[in-house]
Amino acid sequence: MSHYYTDEINTLILISLLKKHNIRKIIASPGTTNISFVGSVQIDSYFEVYSVVDERSAAFMACGLAEESGEPVVLTCTGATASRNYIPGLTEAYYRHLPILAITSTQHTGRVGNYVAQVIDRSEQFPDMVKTSIQLPTIHSEEDKRHTVTAVNEAILELTHGIAGPVHINLLTTYSNNFVVKELPECRVIRRIINKDYPDMPKGKIGIFVGAHGKFTEDETKEINRFCEAYNAIVICDHVSNYRGKYRFLASLVNNQENNFGTKVFDLIIYIGSVHGAYINFVGKELWRVNPDGIIRDPYCNLTYVFEMEEIEFFKHYSLKEKNNTILECCKKATEAVFSKIPELPFSNMWIAKETVMLIPDDSILHLSILNTLRVWNYFETSENVLCYTNSGGYGIDGCLSSFLGSAITHRQVQHYLIIGDLAFFYDLNAVYNELPSNIHIMLINNGVGTEFKNYNHRASYFGEEANPYIAAKGHNGFKNKDTVKVMCGDVGMKYLCAKDKKEYIDCRDLWIDKKSGPVLLEVFTSDEEESKALKLINNIAKDNSIIGRFKRSPLGKITGKILRR
């Protein structure tokens, strides 16, 4: 054999994953644009390749072959109208529920619509032709590569997910003629577990990460607790996780320290719930997602299994082992150690959170706005019976107040507390002109700027003061005008409180919390400098004093880090 696999990485990943998913039947139609793919599979004896000139015929052959063999069948075609001839056969496959993977090769999609010969637009599909359709661009970075692996896995899994059917991949090619790669890359495989073939629990350290989640039932909490006992696992939480079981580890405070208390690195992360609230530092070698929707969600590009089932079913299946949990103690000790060393913080959202969070009454609901507020309040534990929410679905600042009010009018008997920054508050301002129920307590942290962008560790800090006008939105909405919100509150019948320093805050805090006060708004004026200072102080309580840690902090270490990252 005079040639090997192509050197086009997207194609290599695709071929590698076809093999991992046991897909070997390929019907190839001749052409130039799919040479990188066809030239590579034809030298690999794993694949059974058949040639068909007319793509319409090829797609119908794939129907017959898939049905009779019980296996998925791959189609591959070139540019121009080739793929349009797959339409009748794919439509038949759609209605007969046959798993056919149509790989249509294409030139760079930037060429679409520019009078480039043979280039057509394959970005839209008929609703009853394929179950899903993805674009597979050329790979230029490690991250491209990781997401390509995820995307290809997802497309292949969709062939047989639920009701089987066809799937489309538009595969970009650079027309590379280098067929020089002798071995396919080893690619991460994602598998979907529905009710059988459960994998073994990997050895090593296991963490359950809970993204935004509704209230857990007692049974769910019990099963998670049993699981943690059995596998020495911990539940990594932020406030919006709402897991209140024994193994809750509110991780922001400890895991944002430079020092590693043994609570950051895991062999397996089990992800339940949706988008997380706080940005918590931890890494897992692999990720298992458990959700009845069975969808591939791969935030860290390390997903290996999706369990399409209720969480309780998952934990019940695995919780059969003996009890021996030590990691909980480790997390608790680390939290105590760091918490006891928190220095005096300047007047800031962080300080307020520390002085307030435990006072939010039991059985109430706490909303945290995006983003700095959500971050800092996650450093401190709430009382056990408080449910917490944030708009972490789309992570926007645009509707925090509205979501809060929506929640408050739904449960009028439950006290609702909202902590919100000025950018988010004014964004959604006209929400206060709706009905204001009496169970709301709003705390507006007004520093006249998007503090998020002014934090010492934010990438905008590189711009310093130059970030203010366009990046950090400084000076809008009256720029800490002391009357703006006060007058508005008067107009809409909301009690107004105000604090400009620690003493004033403590003086009015209890009134703000008091169940009888609502509707009430407490405006707190802070500055972005103090906010950033507070964050830096709290993140630097426990430094890594090992030789490596000290080296990393030194000027030489920083330069080395930069070079390595490049």
Binding site: I27, R56, C63, G64, E68
Partner: protein
């Protein structure tokens, strides 16, 4: 008829139509009005015809096809789109979901019933798609060919794969082996290929396809495929005798049986199944 009024308003001079729609009132009316009506077997081919006519004549050209065959139309429509040719694709009936159109096949998409006025339908710089939603009459082979199917039931055995295309339109045949009812109702494409594809799965099964003359003609180029093998047997059912089918099959290396319904003999069918050769068994109505 509103469609005819629309065609007149647009001063349409050419209609390319799916030959299945020859008897439709729209085509009959169009003939009478002196519009040139061109019958084309395959919808894929029809749309390309239209691009050719439009490019030469600079006229708007209507392609009139049954919805069931419409999925074959989009290679030609892509051609029309990129060349800004004024091709009006009219699909009759409701077979598929066109709530989303591909980005580069038509500029506009309209849906009408036959009784609706076709106002505000514009065609300026490229093709459009009009769905005329009306139930289609189906031509069933079922009753006429019962005698053939009964014989088939008698002779097909275990370890034989039987594919009955949707156009043959029979269900619940009773055979001991595997039976597949493939295809989409009234869609003529892909029957030969379907059976050919299946035959690639196992090496010792006799793969028997039963399909209509129209389906053969739509997919006949599959007989020239290099994967065609001796496991394959196609029964082609036709309203009349057809030299093309027999001659082309022979030229592609098939053993050909050619029988009218009256001459049909079970033993002969059995020998076709057992001959171990790629075979076309052509059955036609006499006279």
């Amino acid at each position: 008829m509103n469609v005819i009024k629309y065609l007149l308003d647009l001063n349409i001079k050419y209609i390319v139509f799916d030959q299945k729609l020859k008897k439709s009132l729209i085509i009959q009316n169009a003939y009478n009005l002196g519009i040139e009506c061109i019958s084309v077997l395959d919808a894929r081919s029809a749309t390309y015809y239209a691009t050719g006519i439009a490019a030469q004549s600079k006229e708007k050209v209507v392609v009139f096809i049954s919805a069931a065959n419409s999925r074959s139309a989009f290679s030609g429509m892509t051609e029309a789109f990129y060349r800004k040719l004024p091709v009006i694709l009219i699909t009759l009936g409701k077979a598929f979901n066109y709530s989303t159109e591909l980005k580069d096949v038509v500029k506009k998409h309209y849906v009408f019933t036959l009784n609706e006025k076709m106002d505000n339908v514009y065609i300026d710089d490229g093709p459009i798609h009009i769905e005329l939603i009306e139930p289609e009459k189906t031509d069933s082979y079922e009753e006429k060919y019962t005698s053939f199917l009964v014989k088939l039931e008698n002779i097909v055995q275990k370890k034989q794969y039987l594919y009955i295309s949707r156009n043959i339109n029979v269900k619940n045949l009773n055979v001991p082996g595997k039976i597949v009812y493939g295809g989409i109702e009234n869609c003529d494409a892909g029957a030969i290929s379907n059976v050919l594809g299946a035959s690639l799965a196992k090496s010792r099964t006799r793969y028997i396809g039963v399909l209509s003359e129209e389906e053969y003609l739509h997919d006949m180029n599959a007989l020239g495929n290099i994967n065609i093998n001796d496991l394959l047997l196609y029964f082609i059912i036709s309203k009349k005798d057809n030299n093309i089918i027999c001659d082309y099959s022979k030229s592609m290396g098939f053993e050909v049986f050619r029988k009218s319904l009256n001459e049909l003999d079970e033993q002969e069918m059995l020998s076709a199944i057992r001959n171990g050769k790629r075979t076309v068994f052509f059955v036609y109505e006499e006279g």
